[in-house]
């Protein structure tokens, strides 16, 4: 099975009509993954044996006609814990970690009949924008194998774009679902902070982290998000609000939809080819009846510095738990307990993770807390207020997702700040906790994908589905298939 020529509803019909069994689907999915892996490196671990067992069980029980997700193979970013399936966060410090429980989203999605075919590559602990900081290997972009897939959910994005799976799950702390979705020409949604339980997501920046879904087709993401969402006693930040059936928003027209286009999203540092595609897209939305206003989000330029202090501070605290005592890698030949901690962490973490732990520890340390952490937390309030103000009078904020198109593997590894700037357009939504998606917006002259970002009010993912599905309908960019050019990478 290659998912480039089908969608969720057609697959479901084939399964219900017995034209296809869940076992067939898992076997052919595994075959496609195997065929692509030498070029893509999208997966850290594949889950063939358990996936086949789950499919056999489903076939024996029969695929229910009223459950779209039953028997559908999916993949999870490797920072989402899966019982009995190795989960590494792409770090040496967890490379032998075998979770004894499932993340809440895994529990919910498996209860709905989806089948986990594997764990996808990512930047170590989700820290990065290119999937190059993975301990294991860099992932390649299926549209051009010499280029990065973005990050940190680069493996999930590449796997979906290449047709390995219909849907993959990722986490988004500062753009880690949306930026790789833009780089791979797929749809990727970061829901509202609180919409989806993070129980079982290996924590990075707890006041930013959110789990979301990535698919080629907008409409295919909706039923997955409906199942993933909702309150969970195990994550007290998850919201009690009722969860709508997100599929109801697919195909609704966008007449009268009020769209804000921030000047700052088209300013310096945004590539001309990206601007041109997104501006073209905004014109199309207007032709369909949307009303566009040009607005200002004046604190946008402070989003990157504020985010790196706050998220790194939270990370420095969250990553204290990796000390070689209860799970994961433990350094050998140590002389005392402190030595276990220091040697395990120094040998177990990669350079980007250490950089952020150091920055966070510095920003929280005595004498610097007010100037760095507290200042950044105040600037966060101003960024959040900018968004709340605009969203009082508009349904959506629209602009580019990433400032550029996929760059060459290795081009930015020595320059952390250039890499941090790749998140300049995505970070603000995490700062404000609002839902945001990247929607395919066509290609530049080199055939590289461009993403259009749609940001909505808190808990209004429905408007994103409405506008994104209308936009998809107008363009049908999903008919384009990745070229896998620049092989032998």
């Amino acid at each position: 099975m290659n998912y480039l020529e089908t969608d969720l509803h057609s697959l479901h019909q084939q399964l219900v009509n017995h034209e296809l069994t869940a076992v067939d689907l898992v076997k052919s999915t595994m075959a496609t993954i195997d065929e692509h892996e030498s070029q893509l490196n999208a997966f850290i671990t594949t889950n063939q044996k358990k996936a086949l067992a789950a499919a056999e069980k489903l076939d024996a029980e029969g695929i229910p006609a009223d459950n779209l997700l039953a028997g559908i193979p999916v993949a999870y970013k490797d920072n989402i814990v899966t019982k009995g399936v190795r989960t590494t966060a792409a770090s040496h410090i967890l490379d032998n970690f075998n979770p004894v429980y499932d993340a809440t989203i895994v529990e919910k999605l498996e209860a709905a009949g989806t089948i986990n075919v594997g764990k996808t590559n990512m930047d170590e602990f989700a820290m990065g924008s290119s999937t190059e900081s993975s301990y294991f290997k860099p992932t390649h972009n299926p549209w051009d194998l010499s280029r990065v897939p973005g990050g940190s959910s680069g493996g999930s994005a590449a796997a979906v774009a290449a047709g390995d799976v219909l849907a993959a799950f990722g986490s988004d702390t500062g753009g880690s679902i949306r930026q790789p979705s833009a780089y791979n020409g797929i749809f990727g949604l970061k829901p509202t902070y609180g919409r989806v339980s993070r129980w079982g997501l290996i924590a990075f920046g707890s006041s930013f982290d959110q789990l979301g879904v990535m698919t080629r087709r907008v409409k295919d993401a909706a039923p997955f998000l409906t199942v993933m969402s909702g309150h969970d006693g195990k994550d007290s930040t998850s919201s009690q609000r009722p969860v709508p059936d997100f599929s109801q928003f697919i195909g609704q027209d966008i007449k009268g939809l009020k769209i804000a286009v921030p000047d700052e999203f088209f300013g310096q540092g945004i590539a001309d080819d990206v601007k041109a595609q997104v501006e073209k897209g905004i014109k199309q939305l207007v032709e369909q009846g949307a009303i566009v206003d040009h607005v200002q989000l004046p604190h946008t330029k402070y989003a990157v510095p504020a985010y790196y202090v706050l998220a790194s501070s939270e990370a420095s605290s969250n990553l204290q738990r990796f000390d070689g005592i209860r799970y994961g890698f433990r350094a050998e030949d140590v002389k005392n307990l402190t030595d276990v901690y220091v040697r395990t962490r120094s040998e177990g973490f990669g350079p980007e993770v250490k950089r952020r732990i150091m920055l966070g520890t510095f920003a929280l340390s005595s004498g610097y807390y007010d100037a760095y952490f507290n200042k950044a937390a105040k600037v966060r309030t101003l960024i959040k207020q900018d968004f709340e103000e605009i969203l009082k009078t508009h349904d959506l904020i629209v602009g580019p997702t990433a400032p550029d198109t996929p760059f060459l593997i290795g081009a930015n590894v020595a320059d952390p700040i250039t890499l941090y700037m790749k998140d300049i357009l995505t970070i603000s939504a995490n700062m404000a906790g609002v839902p945001a998606a990247s929607v395919p917006a066509g290609f530049n002259a080199a055939g590289l994908p461009v993403g259009m970002q749609m940001i909505a009010k808190r808990f209004d993912e429905g408007t994103i589905f409405r506008a994104a599905s209308a936009f998809e309908e107008m363009n049908q960019y999903y008919l384009e298939k990745p070229s896998f050019k620049g092989g032998n990478a």
Binding site: P99, V100, Y101, Y193, G194, S207, G233, S236, T237, H299, K301, Y302, V304, P305, A306, Y308, S316, Q320, D323, G324, I325, R326, Y327, G328, R330, V334, K335, N336, L337, T338, V340, Y341, V342, R345, S346, F349, K354, R355, I357, M358, L359, T361, F362, Y372, N374, K375, A376, A377, K378, V379, R380, T381, L382, K384, P416, I417, Y420, M431, A432, G433
Partner: protein
């Protein structure tokens, strides 16, 4: 300008160790990042409250009763690097012969 000594102090707080060459490299990179952070100082924030969480709630409580549907002790010990008699084994806190350290 952040100094190498400051970076070494932060490394100690973070339970990380670096070689001299790594320390020099990290000092340069952290300094660049901290210079980027100085942009925040231009933002007037007098009277602005910090945002540290985004939930609509203050505190979340549950009844103080044991959780009984969690993983068993054996399961929890599965990933422990070294265990003995159902307990996690760790090296001694003080080196042999360095009791006065």
């Amino acid at each position: 300008m952040i100094s190498k000594d400051q970076v070494a102090h932060v490394a100690e707080l973070a339970r990380l160790s670096f070689t001299d060459a790594e320390l020099a490299h990290f000092t340069t990179q952290l300094d660049q990042i901290i210079v980027m952070e100085h942009a925040l100082a231009e933002v007037p924030t007098d009277g602005v409250a910090p945002t540290t969480q985004l939930t609509d709630t203050e505190n979340v409580f549950r009844d103080d009763v044991p959780v009984t549907d969690g993983p068993s002790r054996d399961e929890l010990l599965q990933n422990v690097p070294e265990s003995k008699d159902g307990l996690i084994k760790v090296p001694s806190i003080i080196d042999k012969g360095e009791a006065d350290a």
